[in-house]
Every structure is written in structure tokens, then in C-alpha cells.
Assembly symmetry: C2
């Protein structure tokens, strides 16, 4: 990892933490406990991979920083809600997340449920109340994009397939289908929303062919992200990971490691990484941050 990239990531993470802090309801505002729990679930945690992807895609098209902040925050709030709900006892029943007790452990289940619901609403409030494009129709497209990515044909659908797969042996295509929805949809949405924050297409921003390339990059890197997660989950101990390690194997969930072995899974991640970089070939220097993020995501522990 180049020093320049390392300091870019660190600076973005610190800066974006402030953005989220500002955009979330204040903990003193009623209902306090709910707002406090929303802040607990979102702040001080995570690598902010999706926001970083949105920033990098936005940089590629010369997007306005203030607009990117809102788009990235909306995606991160959706991601944070999904973690809160997925951790609940009726789902993955996890007690540790980002090194802290999960939301329902720190508060209670009912509050965690409402935190997840409220974060979803906040994400769409943000996308609707800030100007993200000079073209309001394009902004409506962005809202649709996130709603579809997070909904029953996207992230939530992927989680449903995941739950249904516990104890079953999936084929590689089935596992891939699940993860393209569960993790991939939101990663792709992050990249596309970042790109949509750019100046209008008519005035010479990305073409729709280029958007397709970015989307394909997102698909590959999203899948690689999950493969790496499976490898790390298998290898790491709980302290390093910041969440309960070995959960998937314990829960008898199919993973890339269980299907391909640890070496096969590593190879697959590296292949996806290579293909993802090839997708960016035509963008030249403007896609440098996206390339570095691809490295960051895939090579984080290898």
C-alpha cells in the first residue's frame, strides 16, 4: 500500500466520521435512546469501504465533495442498518461487531429493530433533501438505484437466500448468486452513486458505457470482498477480526472456503481482483483510487 493511498484512506475515514456525526440525529433529541442507539450503530466503526468506493468513483468523474458525502452517507447508513438487523438473535445472533457489543446487546432487541428501520429512512431522507445532481430526474434515479440495491432483489434478498442456505450444500454458482445480492449489490450501488454525483452526462462526464464498466468493476470487487471475508473468517481470531470469528463454519453456512478450500478461495479472490483491474483499464490515471481500493479490499490480509 502506497503511503499516499494510506494517508488518503485515513484522512477520508476521519473526515467522513465527522460527516456522519453531523448527519445523524443528535443524541439529545427525542426519542433520545433511539437516537443514541442509531449513533452507536453507525459511528466509530468500520473501514467505510462503501463510502471510500463512492469517493473514489466520484473523484473519477470530478464530482462535488459535498454531494459525494451525502451519497456515501446514505449507502453507509443502509450498510449499518443491515449489520444491526443481521446481528439480531433471529438472524445471525451475533454479540460482537467492530469490537463492540452489537446493538441489540448494548441496547435491546426492540431498539435494534427500530434503529435499523430508522437508519433506512434517514438514508432516503438524505438522498431526497440534499441536491446531488443538477438534474432532479437523475437524483430520482439515484434514489431508485439504492432502493433496488438494498431491497428484496438486492441486499435483503441476498440475506434471505443466505438464511435459507444454512445447513445446505450450495454449488459455486448458487453461492455466487447469494453474495452478488447480499454484499455485491450495495458495493455496486456505492460506486454508481459516487459516479452519478458527477456533472451531467451531457456536459461531458461518464458515458453510460463507462457506467457499465464501473458497475462491472463493482460486481467483481464485491464478490472478491466476500471471498476474502470467508478466508479471513476462517483464519483470523476474534480479536483481529473485531467480530466473532469462525461463525460461518460454526453455523454450518456454505462459504467459499468450504467449497474451494482455503487456497482455492485465495486464488479466486486474486483472479477477481485481476479482472476488476482490467475493467478499469480505459480510465487511466483518474481511476487510480479505485485501483488502490481494489488492492486494499482484496489484499488486506493476504
Amino acid at each position: 500500500m502506497r503511503a499516499d493511498f494510506q494517508s488518503w484512506i485515513a484522512a477520508q475515514q476521519v473526515r467522513f466520521e465527522d460527516v456522519l456525526r453531523e448527519l445523524l440525529p443528535r443524541a439529545e433529541a427525542a426519542p433520545q435512546r433511539l437516537h443514541e442507539a442509531m449513533r452507536y450503530a453507525v459511528l466509530d466503526g468500520g473501514k467505510r469501504v462503501r463510502p471510500l468506493l463512492a469517493f473514489a468513483a466520484g473523484e473519477l468523474v470530478g464530482a462535488d465533495a459535498a454531494r459525494l458525502n451525502i451519497a456515501a452517507a446514505a449507502v453507509e447508513l443502509i450498510h449499518a442498518y443491515s449489520l444491526v438487523h443481521d446481528d439480531m438473535p433471529c438472524m445471525d445472533n451475533d454479540v460482537l461487531r467492530r469490537g463492540k457489543p452489537t446493538c441489540h446487546v448494548q441496547y435491546d432487541e426492540a431498539t435494534a429493530l427500530l434503529v435499523g428501520d430508522s437508519l433506512q429512512m434517514l438514508a432516503f431522507q438524505l438522498l431526497a433533501e440534499h441536491r446531488l445532481s443538477d438534474d432532479a430526474l437523475r437524483q430520482l434515479e439515484m434514489i431508485k438505484l439504492l432502493a433496488v440495491a438494498a431491497g428484496s432483489r438486492g441486499m435483503a434478498g441476498g440475506q434471505a437466500i443466505d438464511l435459507a442456505s444454512v445447513g445446505k450444500s450450495l454449488t459455486l454458482p448458487e453461492l455466487e448468486f447469494m453474495h452478488i445480492h447480499k454484499t455485491g449489490a450495495l458495493i455496486r450501488a456505492a460506486i454508481l452513486l459516487g459516479a452519478h454525483c458527477g456533472p451531467d452526462t451531457q456536459r461531458g462526464s461518464v458515458s453510460s458505457a463507462q457506467l457499465d464498466k464501473l458497475d462491472h468493476f463493482g460486481k467483481l470487487i464485491g464478490l472478491a470482498f466476500q471471498v476474502v471475508d470467508d478466508v479471513l473468517d476462517c483464519e483470523a481470531d476474534t480479536v483481529t477480526l473485531g467480530k466473532t470469528a469462525g461463525k460461518d463454519a460454526d453455523n454450518d453456512k456454505p462459504t467459499y472456503v468450504s467449497l474451494l478450500g482455503i487456497h482455492g478461495a485465495r486464488d479466486m479472490a486474486l483472479r477477481l481482483h485481476r479482472e476488476a483491474l482490467e475493467t478499469l483499464a480505459e480510465f487511466g490515471d483518474s481511476a487510480q483510487r479505485l485501483r488502490e481500493l481494489a488492492d486494499f479490499i482484496v489484499l488486506r490480509k493476504f
Copy 2:
């Protein structure tokens, strides 16, 4: 209830059921179980009070029927999601809703959680992908309006206050504050979204002063709705109500009946109803459906 109004309601309910049936994901589309459960949670049930209010408000401003369908559906999906999540064991733990097993009983808790999440996303997908106004900025306003109404400062916040109030004695203003959020926010949003479906204000639709009147009407009728619910919950048996009767008293929740007695609560509902009708005075005949709905909501069992 006038025969004309009765047949209007029946016709709208039948027609709107078809609208929802069309807008929901098909049960055959993957992930099937999730989509089937979404349809189970939304279809064949409920009086559709919020959609009816949206239609009546839309009629007042001469709104396009196709646009009203989408706005009404979005509100009803948010309402349906809130019922699914509120019925879950960690919230109200209810097993019966609209005369059927609740979603988590019919399916399972994890599915119910995902159904609620997916319905939220579908609501915003609909509001973003259909044209609801000639002015896209106004449509963004509508999206914001629903997100705020359903979020931590609206419906979800009201539910949080409700949960925190179990076993406590609330004052009348505290109870009112809770219900203005929990039930009222979405009822107001239904009316305002219906009104926003009308032609642009510049071209002589409702003024912002008139929108304020409609909003105030919604606030009063939303509160009356809750007071009547409390009275019915106290009086009715489970079969008539279609949900478990007497739950609130059993759960030691403060209600208008526990605070004011059954007669006091009835009087309050009637007073709110009268005030709501006064708010509509200036609209003349065009508000006839809204007046009839106010009667329908408040006088349904008295």
C-alpha cells in the same frame, strides 16, 4: 354512512388491492419465500385507511389517478412494514393481525424482519421510479416527506416512545406526543402525498396555506384514529377486531381509555372529529370525501 360513500370505499379497496398486487414482486420471483411473505403481509387485509385518505386528498386537488396509486401504495407499504415489525416477539409479540397469523408466525422471525426491510425499500423504489409530479424537485420533496414521517422523528420514533412507556403512567400530553408520532405522522403523510400528486401549485392547485390546513386535518384525524383504536381495543372481542383484543391493557400500556376512562376517550374522539371537520370548512364540496373519511374513522364503531 351514505350509500354513495360506502360504495366508493368498497370500490377503492377492491381497485387498490389490484394495484398492490401488481406493484409487489411476484411470488414466483427469487427469493420466492421472501416475496411470498411480502405479499402475505400486504395483501388481503386492512381497511386501507391511509390510501383512502391519499385518494380523497388527491381528489380535492384534481390529482391524476395513476400517480395517486403510487403515492398511496408507498404509504401503505410503510404501514404494512411497521405492522410486521411491531408484531414481532421483541416488540408487541402479537400472533394475530387482520384475522390471520402475523408474518413471523406464518413464516419465521428472520423472514418477517426481512419482509419489513424489503417493504421499506419497495416504497421508496416506487416513489422514485414513477413520475408523481411534473416537477421532479417536488417529487424529491414527497420522498423526503415520507422518509421523515416514517423515521426516528416520526413513526419509528413514536414506536420507541411507546415501548419506553410500558408500565409507566404517561400524562395526556405525553401520550399525545407518542401517538402524533406513532400513528399520526404516517396519516398526515398520506394526506400530504395525495395532495402533492395534484397539478403544480403555480398552475393553480392547492396553496401552501391550504396544505397546512390539510396537514392539520391529518394531525387531528390521526389522533382521533388512535383514541378510537384504544376504545375499540378495550371494548371489542378478538374476532371483531381481527387482532388480539385487550393487548394494550394486558401489556400495561398507557391508553386514552386508561387515562380518560371510556367515556372521556369517546368524548375526546368526537371533539377531535369536530375540529378536523372545521379545518376543512374552506374547501367546500371538493373535500367531501375527506369529511366522509373523518366520519368513517371516528364513528366506525360508536
